[in-house]
Symmetry: C2
Subunit: 321 residues, 2 copies
């Protein structure tokens, strides 16, 4: 009997990863292709579909493809559209699912934003397997989120639910790319912690090797490495990042009272440096009803694979409907 | 054929209202009994069950009772317990459903907090009939909330989801009864607007008749009446209340992207005085993804009846499972 599989596609700003994944989350085949940006979307689709076909062909007919799940920025599950993803440069509204349907007639072709895919991946194959209520926060260049309530992904009325990177944590705070001020992602992302280091350099006299680096060259990895070496300013930057993130999570908890909050992405890889202060400020700021009830956990999925696993997982969820 | 009905019970700090309600939301009979507080819960249950029996008996066997729904403060649907409701004075943890089951063996006996009941009432009989995603905010002495996502009430991992009155809107803000500072309910409740008037009296020179009233005597109705007469300070108090509430709602929207947010309770009765500034600041502070998409609406249910209607509605939802 042929093995049933789903194809998971992770569309990043530079690369696209294609994974052929079985229902148990085993990655049977993997392929990569450049994400052709700033071009007619049809050029990219030609390359992408050729790569998909080649990858499936190489499995010698041992698999039966049940669907394609795509994780991409600014994506809407309901409409199947990628909306306003300026870094992809394909136009304002790309009917991605419709365009793929011209090539394939699989039972399920579904698009979700990348943080939502990550949440579904964690739900099906990771640390949230036994959970009905949790929140996944992806702390990368920005802050994304996927929220699961009553065992289902929260998409909201219009498909754009779960933009927790854009709750306002300080009304007089930092300028955000969205045009407002003080959004969580201006503090609790990889770029946010770089801004915090710049701020500490300006406002404190804490000694630090980071003062020798041009601020435009800061990376969260560099700040992590400094913290590991005991750099006081880097440690303080993690403390402040955890403070903003912990406070925000305390409010998220009052909304959906989740069993756990998962942290994922570049900044989450700092381990205790980010988890400890976040947990401390989360508990300090939480309403007593939830004290010591909500777990703060790292994602259990392999960082490099979570995107394609998650995208493929959305296919199985779709077929269950 | 006997008419199928559910009994809705609204336990307030002073009075308990009992309603016999059919599936369409018609209130067939209504009764009242004092809420016996600071006593052995058994005394109260004796009075309550006698009143329920009498009310049903008077319907001459024309009805078939399918269940009892109770709305009460600090109630947990999962455990059937009222937890830490200090104003009732029955003890820390009251297994209310279990105690009622000693008297009745109806197919469904369910307990939820009052704001959750109100949300279910709005969903079944009010303005949210056609909605799968909305938030109900009750602006009374405190701020309560009931959240519906994917057509279902959000209860969370532990049954305590939806305490939006306790998100922190100002980290250096007002002392809250929960022991923290700056919770939404210290601003956007009937008592919150009274505190805002006191603050404006202290910090501004805006002329107002309210300066002649001892602050301990302020009521939200009094502030509303002053606003209607054009009292500048009362109008400013509504503006500031709407500012805090609108900002908070903008963040709630980033969580669940609801079709609408309903306002209910004493403060919501101020109509445009509260809705206009709330809507303005909600839009001003909302992430562009949601601009002009989310309705801000008054509850469509009769204020006096929503609690029993909502409590009875939870019974039908339970039986649908």
């Amino acid at each position: 009997m042929k093995k049933e599989v789903a194809i998971g596609i992770d569309i990043g700003g530079t690369n696209t990863v294609i994974g052929v994944v079985d229902r148990e989350g085993n990655l049977i085949a993997e392929a990569h292709t450049p994400t052709l940006t700033n071009t007619d979307i049809k050029n990219y689709l030609d390359v992408l579909t050729a790569k998909i076909n080649e990858t499936v062909f190489e499995l010698n007919g041992d698999v039966e493809v049940k669907g394609i799940g795509i994780g991409a920025p600014s994506s809407n599950y309901y409409t199947g559209e990628i909306v306003g993803a300026s870094n992809l440069g394909w136009g304002d509204v790309i009917p991605f699912v419709k365009l793929l349907q011209e090539h394939y007639d699989y039972p399920a072709i579904v698009l979700t934003n990348d943080a939502n895919s990550a949440a579904v991946g964690e739900l099906m194959y990771g640390g949230a397997k036994s959970m009905d209520n949790f929140i996944m926060l992806t702390l990368g260049t920005g802050v994304g989120s996927g929220i699961v309530i009553n065992g289902k992904l929260v998409l909201g009325h219009d498909g754009f639910a779960g933009e927790l990177g854009h709750v306002i944590t300080d009304v007089n705070g930092r300028e955000c790319g969205c045009g407002r001020k003080g959004c969580l992602e201006t503090y609790a992302s990889a770029t946010g912690i770089c801004r915090t280091v710049s701020e500490l350099i300006a406002t404190t006299k804490i000694p630090s090797d980071l003062r020798k680096v041009p601020s435009g060259n800061f990376t969260s990895k560099m700040i992590y490495d400094a913290a590991v070496k005991g750099d006081e300013l880097a440690l303080e930057a993690f403390e402040l990042t955890g403070k903003m993130l912990g406070r925000a999570i305390a409010d998220f908890v009052a909304f959906s009272s989740p069993e756990a909050v998962f942290l994922f992405g570049g900044l989450a890889q700092a381990g205790d440096y980010i988890f400890k202060p976040t947990k401390k400020y989360m508990e300090e700021n939480m309403c007593f009803l939830y004290s010591d009830k909500v777990k703060l956990l790292p994602s259990e999925l392999d960082g490099a694979k979570i995107a394609v696993l998650g995208a493929s997982a959305v296919v199985w969820k779709e077929l269950e409907k």
